[in-house]
């Protein structure tokens, strides 16, 4: 696994390690050579691990008090908020934790897009990441259903109804998903079961994600292959551990602010109204982190094609390592790609915004243009750019500047340090 053989010093340690090499693993994790120029955008992997553990721990506690029954779910949530010791704290951490998790995952994904971390030899890491992201969306959606408020109920109805767009078997699939002829108690209990299961699947995939990462090692802001270990790297412990820890604390401060001072700002008021199958809310909107995809879904006039567009928007990411034809990883040396990158960021934000607005008039038009651009970026711009773009000279190593001294490199460095 690591470059040098590790032998524990103590006899007992050696005895144990020969039978189960956990100590070798621990040694690998602490010594793991990491590029020393990683900026703070690289701290979100650790932050995401923290988010996952937080969701699992608070979720387990909530599950001890929650009742997955259509008649009692809403009451049991209020019971948690009022009568369970610190139940309000645990529930607000869990509810806002989902949003913080997505905030971190979006930063993590867009970091990868900027620095080309998905490119060879890291395709498997990237694809596992996309699967984790899909599972996160499934878990978040089902978790939002559990309090059995109006948005829970109607969100579940809208999203499960998407499957009815599938020709021939669609209706049957929806009935099968619901466990009946409408969203009701069987739907709630199975959503609870799956909501409980998925985080552990994610945990397993996170292990694979990190394992796959430790084969080629981290990408870095200048996106070049580096010798490991070398003077371009530092051991993971203590250098990266303390830096990740510092970034994590900053993140937790933001997190705490939401939990303690605006715990309901990211949720929808309608979800404090108990689910009522006879009353449809005026606007059914998903949580903020699903809005861009919701906008894509609604921008296509045909139901089936809308669903296909929405799913493709996510799955297209899995093909990204092959759609991006450029050999250069980091956007720092790709002047054109860098511009298209920021347009894509703006495009996704616009999609998120129109996803929250009613699908009519100008909003619908904007959603359509933004959807078209989203696919254009991945299917046309990226493949063509790899051939057409004139990239800047790339340095040989992190420590040695590029031959002839690139101005752009100096700019990149100063930008990095200003972030730090």
């Amino acid at each position: 696994m690591s470059e040098h053989e590790y032998t524990p010093k103590s006899k007992a340690g050696k005895w144990f390690n020969d039978r189960l090499p956990l100590l070798s693993l621990a040694n690998h994790l602490t010594d793991y050579p990491t590029p020393k120029n990683l900026n703070y955008w690289w701290t979100f992997g650790g932050i995401l691990t923290f988010c996952l553990i937080t969701q699992i721990v608070t979720g387990l506690t909530l599950a001890m008090h929650y009742i997955a029954h259509a008649d009692m779910a809403f009451d049991s949530v209020e019971h948690i908020m009022r009568d369970v010791n610190y139940g309000w704290l645990i529930r607000y951490i869990h509810a806002n934790g989902a949003s913080m998790f997505f905030l971190a995952v979006y930063i993590h994904i867009f970091r990868s897009l900027f620095y080309g971390s998905y490119k060879s030899p890291r395709e498997i890491i990237w694809i596992i990441g996309i699967i984790i992201y899909l599972l996160m969306m499934a878990a978040a959606f089902m978790g939002y259903v559990l309090p059995w408020g109006q948005m829970s109920f109607w969100g579940a109805t809208v999203i499960t109804n998407l499957f009815s767009a599938i020709p021939l078997v669609g209706e049957g699939i929806v009935t099968w998903l619901w466990g009946g002829y409408s969203v009701d108690n069987p739907t709630l209990t199975r959503f609870f079961t799956l909501h409980y299961l998925i985080p552990f699947l994610i945990l397993g995939l996170v292990v694979l994600h990190i394992w796959a990462l430790h084969v080629p090692g981290n990408n870095n802001p200048i996106g070049i292959d580096i010798k490991k270990p070398s003077k371009d790297t530092v051991p993971f412990h203590p250098y990266i551990v303390i830096k990740d820890g510092f970034a994590l604390l900053m993140f937790i401060i933001v997190f705490a602010f939401f939990v303690f001072y605006t715990p309901n700002i990211l949720g929808h008021a309608d979800n404090y109204i108990e689910a009522d199958p006879l009353v449809t809310p005026a606007h059914i909107v998903p949580e903020w982190y699903l809005l861009p995809f919701y906008a894509i879904l609604r921008s296509v006039p045909d139901k089936l094609l809308g669903v296909v567009a929405m799913l493709s928007a996510i799955l297209i990411l899995a093909a990204l390592p092959w759609l991006d034809t450029s050999k250069i990883r980091s956007a720092v040396f790709r002047p054109l790609y860098k511009q298209f990158y920021w347009i894509l960021v703006a495009d996704v934000l616009i999609l998120g915004y129109v996803g929250a607005m009613p699908a009519e008039g100008l909003y619908l038009l904007i959603a359509r243009v933004a959807t078209a651009y989203y696919f254009l970026h991945f299917l046309v711009i990226l493949p063509v750019l790899g051939f057409k773009e004139k990239t800047l000279p790339v340095p040989m190593s992190i420590t040695e500047p590029v031959l002839g001294g690139s101005v752009n490199m100096a700019a990149a460095r100063s930008k990095e340090s200003s972030r730090n």
Binding site: W88, V234, Y239, F257, A346
Partner: protein, 258 residues
Amino acid sequence: MRNLFWISLFFLLTTNFTVLKSAEKEEYLKTNWSFKGIFGKFDRGALQRGYQVYTEVCASCHSMKYLSYRNLAEKGGPEFSEAEAKAIAASFEVTDGPNTDGEMFTRPGKLSDKFVMPYENVEAAKAANGGAYPPDMSVLIKARSGGADYIYSLLQGYVEPPEGTSLDEGVYYNKYMYGKKIKMASPLSDGIVEYSDGTETSIEQMSKDVTTFLMWAAEPHLEARHKMGFKAIVYLIILTILVYFSMKKIWSRVETEV
């Protein structure tokens, strides 16, 4: 290109703003809420007066099914004394049972009882209110997008309807209501309750008091949350500073900046 990003962000925020304004939505009335802000606490007097307004006015139609009489004496709430809360509970008739003969019976309320509901069930409530269900008030503030400001405004929003508005029997005009029509008659009028602490009973004052009470009902642990939040964030900031300097020290062994 980053400029473009910021420009589009600006564009987003401003359009959002204009859209909100262009919609025919009344600006909510504003008042100074004691519970707002990092150190926000409930005004104890307002909570006690608000409870009085709730129980004498609202409670004839609106239930509050998640609250118990014991909550009235708990820390961070109206903080009635235990004796007062017991007396309040005892003033309500609670149906209990079945007893050893299998009969249901009534008895005076205890601290552990939930707030007595005005109607047996939702259907009875609808039947008595022209088909409209008076919503349960336990989490009402959190269930309306305008929150406390909205409820506060709504209570004072009964104005003369504009020329040409036709209102059905049992429907009232309220400029803050979604669609401007509401099935609840103006619940408050000057002097409808009498405060024992001598506070004037104007509609404005009563609206503020009862809204404060509803806020507490929806968020009974708000004070504890604000208090803990302040401690937690101060602790985190100190820890972050310490970790920052540790990081600087550790990274000083490498020539790269952190």
